[in-house]
């Protein structure tokens, strides 16, 4: 790998080093943004390797490059990779990002001139744009903020380098012989303005960020034309959580917990914060009712027509209001503690189902949704149960479940576990409250057995294709995750004649932070709900413990902070929409109006106060306020002027060197002579002044000459005098003072 020899001009213009170091950082940032957004770690590693090699070469004051033919071949290979990737994956943006990263690598190993530096910067910028289209995480925002000052700095240094090279080449063309380095490079090599450029770059980046924020907040938003084609959609979230139209137990393999925050829930209850029961931790989403061949299918119930909607739901002390901010990936399902009797939705969202799960139709589904759900937590009152019992689709139609095939072994196991309870139940008349209690006891027994006798795992072993997944769980693997346990319990309850169903949603974990819960994707859960006429649908969670690991300490707090910031970023920044913009501008406008009104009323009051003072000679409160305000303004103005004066003194005028303080005997002598009306003139030296003063006042010139000699030695010779000499000088001054005094007393 040959090393390029620098020309003389380049050797002199050492700003190449100043340019390439931050340029490599810029290249790395751009590639990291694009590669991480597309999830292509290999390309990031390739870039890190390329940047590392270049940085090492730079450290050795050399440049690494390969012949142009090899670079051209690499470009052709990169193009081929791009075509293959695009054709095979049918996704343009990631393929384009990879192509640009490869092009950047080719450029890194090319012989670099100013044009190549500019191309590297442009490629890096395009990579960041590609990353901005693909990524939406907070990390990308931070990366962009770090990218900005580096990009500004590199742009400035490259601009300087181009100008300097042009100047140098112009002078080289004119001069007949090589010019002296100090004349070509001016003051570059010794005083490159790195600090000034960094400061300028920082200010430029801050200004750009401010401008970007202003544009971001004010620019009107429209409906996207190509949004459905974008890689970020709601399907990704749904596939992870399982909140789809069906749960296919056979297809579920290893589940990887995703710590993305998808929801922020604030709960307020009429009963107070500390008295919420455990059932309030279950935010219910889709409910599955029909089981067939190892799969659960969604229970769809339409929203009652307006005419069929009943009167106001009965209120009670168990009212729970949940204010939810939800990521758009979870739509069209809304999550809330069941049962929900009222939902407050934003204007662009329309409710399509209330029971058993909340389903909405959102016209701008890529925005986060803010809603409030009003629920009742257990135990429900009889009027509440009656109100709910009349809702269409609230209970499962038994006709749907007639064709279910519950494996006989599962039914037998359920009967085996609850043999005693079943016997008791046989003695209770059906339909009564006792029968309901027995049903709940049976369900509790099944849930207990499942929790005690089985283990929780996310790494479910491969299911036997010939067996039912629930049967496989109960008799072979004996380990599974929440969906399997909820399914097993539901089927066992149904085998014993109970009304049961599978509900999915989120289980609120950990303590609420200021009354608010952060809900992560990993909090997704499934459980079983059993119906009795007296209690409505009751939640039973058969999933064994051990599936949730709680972390504590500083790391956990940091993680929570990061999650909270990420959620804020996602819901407030990434999902900033037209409604937010209108709200913001409306608020700003209202604030301006109110400020204007306040200002106008203040001026009117001040005028009234002034008029009172002039006409009636009365000092009122309004005048006091006006005077205070004027004083505050004057104080602020004085502070600004003082600051400006200080800064002018500090920056505007060069600081004069400190003048040496005259010795004490000379000061005394000056004072003495000043009393006699003799002052030094500006053009006089000390010696001249003393001799003139001596002539005028009739003082001995020898003594004054001695004093001048001591003074000159101290001031200009920078030679210290001995204490004896200083004493002698003091004595001479005292003698002179005595002579003057005596002469004054004499007639």
């Amino acid at each position: 790998m040959p090393l390029r020899r620098f020309t003389e001009a380049e050797l002199v213009l050492t700003q190449r080093l100043h340019l390439e170091r931050p340029l490599l950082v810029l290249v790395l940032l751009g590639a990291a943004g694009s590669a991480l957004a597309a999830g292509s770690v290999i390309y990031l590693l390739l870039t890190v390797a390329g940047v590392g090699i270049n940085a090492a070469a730079l450290h050795r004051r050399s440049e690494v490059y390969v012949p142009r033919a090899i670079v051209n071949a690499a470009v052709l290979i990169a193009t081929a990779i791009f075509i293959v990737e695009f054709v095979s994956r049918d996704e343009l943006l990631p393929a384009l990002g990879h192509y640009l990263i490869l092009m950047q690598l080719c450029k890194l190993f090319e012989q670099k001139r100013n044009r190549d530096y500019a191309q590297l910067i442009a490629l890096s910028l395009v990579l960041m744009v590609a990353g901005a289209i693909t990524a939406s995480g907070l990390w990308f925002g931070l990366l962009l903020l770090a990218y900005l000052p580096v990009a500004c700095y590199v742009g400035m240094v490259l601009t300087l380098k181009v100008s300097l090279d042009r100047q140098a080449s112009a002078h080289l063309a004119v001069e007949s012989r090589p010019i002296d380095p100090h004349r070509v490079a001016w003051n570059v090599s010794t005083a490159f303005p790195r600090g000034a450029l960094w400061r300028m770059a920082g200010m430029a980046a801050a200004s750009c960020a401010l401008a970007a924020t202003a544009v971001f907040l004010v620019m009107p938003r429209l409906a996207p034309r190509f949004a459905p084609r974008l890689p970020v959609g709601r399907g990704r979230g749904l596939s992870v959580t399982g909140f789809a139209s069906s749960i296919r137990l056979r297809e579920v393999g290893r589940i990887r917990p995703d710590r993305r925050v998808v929801m922020r829930v604030g709960m307020t209850s009429a009963a107070g914060k500390g008295s919420l029961p455990a059932s309030c931790r279950y935010l219910r989403g889709p409910v599955y009712d029909t089981y067939s061949d190892g799969s659960w299918f969604l229970w769809r119930a339409p929203l009652p027509r307006a005419a069929a909607r009943r009167a106001k739901p009965p209120g009670a002390g168990n009212l729970l209001v949940q204010r939810v901010t939800m990521a758009p990936e979870l739509l069209p399902t809304l999550f809330a503690v069941a049962p929900v009797h009222r939902v407050e939705l934003p204007g662009n969202v329309e409710l399509t189902s209330l029971h058993p799960g909340l389903t909405v139709r959102d016209r701008m589904y890529y925005r986060p949704i803010h809603y409030a759900a009003h629920s009742w937590f257990a135990p429900l009152t009889k009027t509440q149960v009656d109100w709910l019992g009349g809702a269409p689709g609230h209970r499962t139609p038994r006709a749907v479940r007639t064709g279910e095939a519950i494996p006989p072994s599962v039914a037998a196991l359920a009967r085996h576990w609850c043999a005693d309870l079943l016997a008791q139940r046989g003695r209770v008349p059906p339909g009564g409250s006792r029968a309901g209690e027995m049903d709940l006891r049976i369900a509790e027994r099944i849930a207990d057995r499942l929790r005690k006798d089985y283990t929780y795992t996310l790494d479910v072993p491969a299911a036997d294709p010939d067996r039912d997944p629930v049967e496989d769980l109960l008799f072979r693997t004996r380990a599974g995750h929440c969906e399997l346990f909820a399914s097993a319990m539901t089927l066992m309850c149904r085998a014993l004649g109970l009304d049961a169903r599978v509900a999915t949603g989120y289980l609120l974990d950990g303590a609420a932070d200021g009354g608010e819960y952060l809900v992560r994707q990993s909090d997704a859960h499934a459980w079983c709900e059993v119906y009795t006429p007296a209690t409505d649908w009751r939640i039973f969670d058969p999933t064994p413990a051990g599936g949730r690991r709680r972390t504590a300490g500083a790391l956990s707090r940091l993680r929570r902070l990061w999650d909270s910031m990420s959620f804020f970023w996602g819901t407030r920044v990434i999902s900033y929409g037209e409604s937010d913009r209108q709200r913001l501008l409306g608020g700003a406008l209202a604030w301006c109006r109110s400020a204007w009104r306040a200002c106008a009323s203040f001026c009117a009051e001040a005028w009234e106060g002034l008029r009172d003072l002039i006409v009636h000679r009365r000092v009122g409160r309004d005048l006091h306020k006006a005077m205070l305000a004027l004083a505050a303004v004057a104080a602020a103005a004085a502070a600004v002027m003082a600051w400006r004066a200080l800064s002018r003194r500090r920056f505007g005028q060069p600081r004069r060197p400190d003048r040496p303080t005259p010795p004490a005997f000379y000061l005394r002598l000056l004072k003495l002579l000043r009393r006699r009306g003799v002052r030094p003139r500006p053009e006089q030296t000390a010696r001249e002044f003393l001799l003139e003063a001596g002539a005028r006042l009739g003082l001995p010139s020898g003594a004054l000459t001695d004093l001048a000699a001591v003074l000159y030695r101290l001031r200009w010779g920078h030679a210290a005098c001995s204490p004896a000499e200083l004493d002698r000088a003091d004595r001479i001054v005292r003698d002179l003072a005595g002579q003057l005094r005596r002469r004054r007393r004499a007639p």
Partner: protein, 393 residues
């Protein structure tokens, strides 16, 4: 040296030019705006804002930088051809904060021969000054005018070039190139031709004038010690300078034909005249010149001193390419009285064209006539002028 009036930013003209990189950046800006509107991606709006901010920042910062810098041009007013001329620029940053970076200086519409002058300042700290300069060599005599200095910068992001024109008018008169006189064309020096009588004036230090009493401020070296010892009072010698000789150069500037060879020969004669006059000035002659320009006949009566030297050489520098006025017209304008004690040198392309010299010979003290043929053994021309075309370096 001339120092032009300090410029006032308000009066200067500012303009911007989009660079190639800036044009591409603007295209990218439009594309990103379209992408942001189409996709409604928030980060694209942010990047669009960043790019817009970069453009606005380039306009504001570059203008602020240029407006805060004072420019002054320092250049000689006179110079000989083929000699190095120094052109200096002084930049001073008036603001208290923020440096001015990457400042380029160039002349606005410079003459053809001064295209390459300019300067570059990498970084000018707040309140600091920067001196820079370029040097050049003008091959051709004449008057060159510089009207304004253009201060420009591409900082901060090279998206556009901000330019400010600072009006500063300077002119440079390039005198003809000097050669070397092989023999002493001037017959005798000033001292040799002074007559035996003492000079009437009391200045100089060449010739004894008399004795007088010492006055305060007199140089003690001129004390006449013997006379002082005799009189008992200090007496000093008083010296005088012999009356300087007069050189009058008459130049026939009319081209005999329109050929390039004639022009070249004429230029050589002008260089010879300049060299002769410079030589005479150096030897303290009183010099005068008479020549014809296209619009007038220039007659400079003999005088001494630096001012006269400058005027004489200026007249030679500003001779037109050709004139319709014949040599006889120049002779007609000559003040005859000033010729009486003058040594007259007539320089022309052809001896036959120098009419009326016989009459002149009687009117002056001495008359010499030089044609290009006479110069071969008399005058060594400047080597750069022998070599090549009239250019500037």
């Amino acid at each position: 040296m001339t120092r032009a009036r300090t410029d006032k930013p308000g009066r200067d003209r500012h303009d911007y030019r989009v660079t190639v990189g800036g044009a591409l950046f603007l295209v990218g800006l439009v594309m990103i705006a379209a992408a942001a509107v189409n996709t409604q991606r928030s980060l694209l709006f942010f990047i669009f804002g960043v790019m817009t901010g970069a453009v606005v920042l380039s306009v504001v910062v570059s203008r602020r930088m240029l407006a805060s810098v004072e420019v002054r041009r320092d250049m000689s007013q006179r110079a000989f051809a083929n000699r190095v001329v120094h052109l200096g620029y002084l930049l001073r940053h008036r603001r208290k904060r923020g440096p001015a970076v990457g400042l380029e200086l160039a002349e606005v519409d410079p003459p053809k021969h001064l295209q390459s002058v300019g300067a570059y300042c990498l970084c000018l700290a707040p309140g600091a000054s920067f001196r820079s300069g370029s040097r050049f060599v003008v091959r051709r005599r004449g008057r060159y005018t510089l009207s304004a200095v253009r201060l420009s910068t591409r900082l901060p992001l090279s998206l556009l070039t901000a330019r400010r024109e600072v009006r500063q008018r300077s002119s440079l008169v390039v005198w003809p190139a000097l050669g070397r006189l092989r023999s002493d064309v001037l017959a005798r020096g000033a001292a040799e031709i002074s007559d035996g009588a003492p000079s009437q004036s009391r200045s100089g230090a060449d010739e004894f004038f008399g004795l007088r009493e010492y006055r305060q401020g007199d140089n003690p070296r001129w004390i006449h010690w013997r006379r002082t010892a005799v009189t008992g009072r200090p007496v000093v010698r008083e010296m005088s300078k012999p009356r300087p000789d007069v050189l009058y150069v008459l130049l026939d500037t009319q081209l005999p034909d329109a050929s390039a060879e004639s022009a070249r020969r004429r230029e050589r004669l002008i260089r010879f005249a300049a060299t002769l006059l410079e030589h005479a000035c150096h030897r303290e002659y009183r010099v005068g010149v008479a020549l014809a320009c296209s619009d007038r006949v220039v007659v400079l009566p003999p005088a001494a001193g630096r001012g006269q030297r400058g005027q004489v050489l200026d007249a030679l520098a500003e001779i037109d390419d050709n004139t319709a006025r014949a040599f006889s017209e120049v002779l007609a304008h000559l003040p005859r009285r000033s010729l009486l004690s003058a040594q007259v040198v007539a320089v022309g392309p052809d001896r036959r064209r120098l009419e009326g010299l016989a009459e002149l010979r009687a009117a002056c003290r001495r008359l010499s006539v030089f044609t290009p043929e006479d110069l071969d053994g008399l005058f060594d021309d400047d080597p750069h002028c022998q070599a090549g075309p009239d250019e500037v370096h």
